[in-house]
Amino acid sequence: MNLLAATVDLPSLPPVGLQHYLAVSALLFCLGVLGVLIRRNILVMYMSLELMLNASNLALVAFSRFNNNLNGQVMVFFIITVAAAEVAVGLALIVALYRKRQTAHVEDLTTMKL
């Protein structure tokens, strides 16, 4: 059967608008914040932080498309580059801590207290 020629009767959906993209982006951002707040493994927290940055990227690109200018997309390039630098430094730091302390859990970071 020719898949390309196959037609499916879809119910007519409203077009995807800016608010849909923003809703998804806000959802991703909240998931990221929740991850940082709830998870106790530093690597998972770090992944959640990247999720927050990507939520912003989605919002920026969507705004860029609907505002008809390229500001948002330029900003996204900066964010991707900076995020890469941040990951390079961050993972190195986490590995250094692991070598010293044999742990990647925040509960174990207790040398300094009131």
Partner: protein
Amino acid sequence: MNSYQLISLEIATVLLGLGILVADLWIAPAKRRMLGFIAAAGVAVIFAASFSPAFPDFGTAFGKMYVFDGLSLFFKRFFLAAAFIVLLLAIDFADRIAVGISEFYSLILFALAGMMFAASSNDFTLMFAALELITITFYVLTSFQRNKLQSLEAGVKYLILGALSTGFTVFGIALVSGIAGTTNFIELSAKLKDVSGDPVFLVGLLLLTTGLGFKIAAFPFHVWAPDVYQGSPAPVTAFLAVGSKAAGIVLLMRVLFVAVPEVAKSWSGLLAFISGATILYGSLCAIPQRSLKRLLGYSSIANAGFLMLGIAAVNKDGATAVLVYLAGYLFAVLAAFTVISIITRNAESDDISVLAGLSKRSPMLAAALTFSMVSLAGIPPLAGFFGKFLLLKSIIKAGSVSGPHFVLLAVAVIAVVISLYYYFGVIRAIFWSKDVSDHSPIPVPSVMAFTLAVCMAGMFLLGVFPGILVDADAEALNSAVGVFARLR
């Protein structure tokens, strides 16, 4: 005007940093420590060059992304002065850093370049890039003593919370610039009437303010400060307390007063609340502290609150007072960290008890730390007094327009009294400690003696002749872009 002429100070700083990094390849490991003198001398030359009459006039560059005005020039000089002293501190600290002292120097210079770009940013893109240049270099700097668990822990804590604040800032920028359709501060202020009612815009602005609040360690985004201050190497803590905080303040001023002046006015209640809570929290939590660096960490939170006071006043006096306060804060904090750096060389801990008998062991260190604490407490005739005085004056002026500011005034005055208690606790430990176990004199290296002399001279000069600084700051604000000149 050529854009590259306007950013010549930043270009020189980055080149200096790269030069140090490259020079490291040809210099024997034993002599690498001396690169710090080249770095410090280079920063001093750049600082002097910023006063040169041949320097270009004020203007904007790179499609109005970068603005060179009085406000940015003031902050650039401020950062250069801070970095000069921090580099001297780093030279003395070099023997406590296992490997990579040249990288330590150049990272300080790169962070300095980021701060100087931040002072001039007039666009969310540049602001973001500058902020990240500062933050990412500080991730490395805070954890530079890799053989010390405390330093690594401080680095990881700063990493997670710094990245969290970046996430807030970026999402805020996405919403604000997306709704307004521009990333430029001045273009945004022109469109502000159309968008300032939009809830998505306001949420974005709130997130952006949150992100910057992390940078200056304002309540309730201060949690990282005490641990990071305690764990980091002393020169880094000093740079974090002075440079990073001032960068956050200048960006807060740029965003609130250049990009969204009307919203800043209507938010003065919120800003006043953050300011009051930060002052009280920092002052109260500093009381039971035993670690000197941690004590200064809480004191820096309280100081962030005082700086927010000038912003919350939303008037020109407040903005001027912020600049005056920062100048006094610079010398006091750097003097304190210089003393701590010297004392902790021999004693492993930085517990307040190591100060016992300091007045006998090293009168110079005792005098410098005493002056620094007196200046931070805001007692005349030292520099800290005038900054606090002007801040309180500006809030009284703001209070005559809106009543709630008087509550903030009362909070600030109470906090000043509380702060006297813990600052004088340090002075009491220096002069009146009962059980002095160690009577050996503490040697002060000549570089550190010079640093202390510069800091003490700064505290006295700014305290005795505050008029020069106040006039210069008012002029700096008059020539700044945005509403600074029009603020009452």
